[in-house]
């Protein structure tokens, strides 16, 4: 079986900034979450996978094709859905006509079949009843869903979603989970997020990216397991912790190397994530 996404030694620089460095990553079908702090390189990585950006170094294979080759690129784009971080839309268009336009760009030339597909994706994101409102009259979260709807057009084999849950209310987040759950098993989803809850709820697999490098790639449960026995509760921030924060109860949660006898707390993926990114942050400060 060809891997839906295979990156080897991928690097990307923007003038002075290294956005990605020697990224090697192989994704399998299913939902993979991409976690990382601001500026980690998530968007850069997703743009490369979505054929919107070419890397400076390394090789990229998406859905078995090479995006650097025109024929490969077209083959990928025919099977791809992409939601950019800032999706935007033509504000003077209705949600229906905008998504319909994208459907035309996706080679859906039969008008009635295309309209049926546009209605399907708008219903999927809960915009069925708003389809004929102008986009400028929609709320920010609804506009985001218009972006999501266009990504779903044509049942793509690979969905690349850059922060799809930003701006969605809790009900819409649930609906988004349903949309992902309703995808066929052989579809591949790569989505970035800042929310470890999203990862826990949506993504069996997770990639943690920081400063353009892959720090972790594995099952989400394995990310949580990294922090097993390393999360504890205390009266005060602990200097042995990589990260500490105040809980709503006024106590402190610490992630790092616990002192003997510490009040350990069950670990979740967010703790594993903080352990990974917190320690690199600490190293950066030290160096």
């Amino acid at each position: 079986m060809t891997l839906p996404v295979a990156l080897a030694g991928v690097g990307k620089r923007f003038r002075g900034t290294t956005a990605l460095q020697d990224v090697t990553l192989e994704l399998r079908p299913g939902v993979t979450g991409l976690l990382g702090p601001n500026g980690a390189g998530k968007t850069t990585l997703l743009r490369i996978v979505a054929t919107a950006l070419s890397p400076d170094a390394g090789t990229v294979r998406v859905l078995g094709a090479d995006p650097a080759d025109p024929a490969g690129r077209l083959a990928i784009r025919r099977r791809l859905g992409y939601l950019p971080q800032e999706s935007g839309a033509y504000s003077g268009f209705t949600a229906f006509s905008f998504v319909d336009y994208v459907a035309v760009l996706k080679e859906m030339t039969d008008r009635s079949a295309r309209h049926a597909e546009v209605r399907r994706v708008l219903d999927a994101v809960g915009l069925g009843d708003r389809a004929h409102q102008r986009i400028r009259a929609l709320s920010g979260g609804m506009r985001r869903r218009v972006g999501l709807a266009q990504a779903l057009l044509g049942h793509p084999d690979l969905l690349v979603l850059d922060e799809p849950t930003v701006g969605l209310d809790p009900e819409q987040r649930l609906r988004f989970r349903e949309v992902l759950a309703g995808l066929p098993d052989d579809a591949t989803v790569l989505l970035s997020t800042h929310l470890t809850e999203d990862v826990a709820a949506l993504c069996p697999t997770v990639v943690v990216l920081d400063s353009g490098r892959v720090l972790f790639h594995g099952e989400t449960t394995a990310l949580a397991a990294l922090a097993d026995g390393r999360v504890w509760d205390a009266e005060a921030p602990d200097p042995r912790a990589a990260v500490s924060w105040r809980t709503p109860e006024g106590r402190f949660r610490n992630v790092g190397s616990p002192p003997p006898g510490a009040a350990l707390v069950p670990a979740g993926p967010e703790h594993g994530y903080l352990l990974l990114t917190g320690s690199t942050a600490a190293e950066q400060v030290a160096s």
Binding site: R77, L105, K106, E107, M108, Q150
Partner: protein, 318 residues
């Protein structure tokens, strides 16, 4: 072409470009700015068709010489609509979203260029209405007083305004692909439009008349202060010396010259389309479009100089 030249495996098929064109035609046909321009042009057409501009016999540069002038507001609207449509997509957002679809920016530009047909058809309808009104009044009168004659406009003279309006739309798209700002593009377009339409008398002088985007089929010549009767009789109409000129200004409809001029305008449309495509990403077909446009322009311009001796006389009548 698409499939034959580049292959379905490298670029989207002709059917997709056709679907994009249909979508752009629909959006353009619904654009209120275009309809506002068309409404103003319709008022202008109605005015010049009923106030005797073409039938009463006015100065050769004034009456029939302004045959296409009523299309001016439509041309401006077409420029703006084309420009704004091409700038709907924003680099960081929608353009980024569209990048990952099979249709490339080049294909999207091609689809949009097809929508130039919408304002062109509106212009054709207006010109047909003007033609019908003028023919119902017995035809066009060229020149004034003793030296005037009446002619019936030909179908060829219906083509100029639609071509000029299509040219404006395509120029708007090309402008958008060169200057990314709607504001700057619109101002530049307005200045260009004002130069082409508001100072329309420039286009009766050589060599500018050769390069006008919109002009009538009337070609003028300065006959001096004392032309012979035979010379006066050779022209469809003559303005005697008056308030504006001390010499006899003659004008005749010259369909051969006009046909070559329209060839030049068509070339301009194709050339500007080529510029818009060239600025929309690589595609090997761009060159063919540019070459075809350039050939038509050269053919039209050279032809005009060849058939009209006066075309090369600096600031002479044309």
């Amino acid at each position: 072409m698409t499939a034959a030249v580049a292959g379905r495996d490298v670029v989207v098929g002709r059917d997709t470009v056709a679907a994009m064109a249909r979508a752009e035609v629909r959006y353009t046909a619904r654009n209120p700015v275009l309809w506002a321009g068309a409404a103003l042009s319709a008022v202008g057409t109605w005015y010049v068709s009923t106030d005797g501009t073409f039938t009463e016999g006015r100065s050769v540069t004034d009456g029939y010489g302004t045959w296409e002038l009523a299309a001016a507001p439509l041309a401006l609207a077409a420029f703006l609509v084309g420009n704004w449509a091409a700038l709907r997509e924003r680099p960081a957002t929608t353009a980024e979203m569209f990048t990952s679809t099979p249709a490339r920016r080049w294909d999207r530009t091609l689809g949009l260029l097809a929508a130039a047909g919408v304002p062109a058809i509106l212009a054709l309808v207006l010109m047909a209405a003007q033609w019908t009104a003028v023919v119902a009044q017995g035809g066009v009168r060229i020149g004034q007083g003793r030296w005037s004659s009446t002619v019936t406009p030909t179908p060829l003279e219906l083509v100029g305004a639609p071509l000029a309006v299509a040219c404006a739309f395509v120029a708007g798209v090309a402008m958008a692909r060169v200057v990314r700002s709607r504001a700057i593009g619109s101002v530049l377009g307005f200045v260009g439009w004002a130069f082409l339409y508001v100072f329309f008398w420039i286009w009766f002088t050589a060599p500018f008349g050769v390069f006008a985007v919109s002009r009538s089929s009337v070609v003028t010549a300065d006959l001096g202060r004392d032309p012979s009767t035979a010379e006066l009789a050779r022209w469809d109409g003559v303005d005697p010396p008056g308030a504006f000129a001390e010499t006899y200004l003659a004008g005749s409809r010259d369909l051969g010259f006009h046909g070559l001029h329209l060839t030049y305008v068509l070339g301009l449309v194709v050339l500007l389309a080529g510029v818009a495509l060239a600025r929309s990403g690589p595609d090997r077909r761009t060159r063919a479009v540019l070459v075809a446009g350039l050939l038509l322009v050269v053919l039209g311009v050279a032809g005009q100089f060849l058939v009209h001796d006066g075309a090369g006389t600096w600031m002479g009548s044309l």
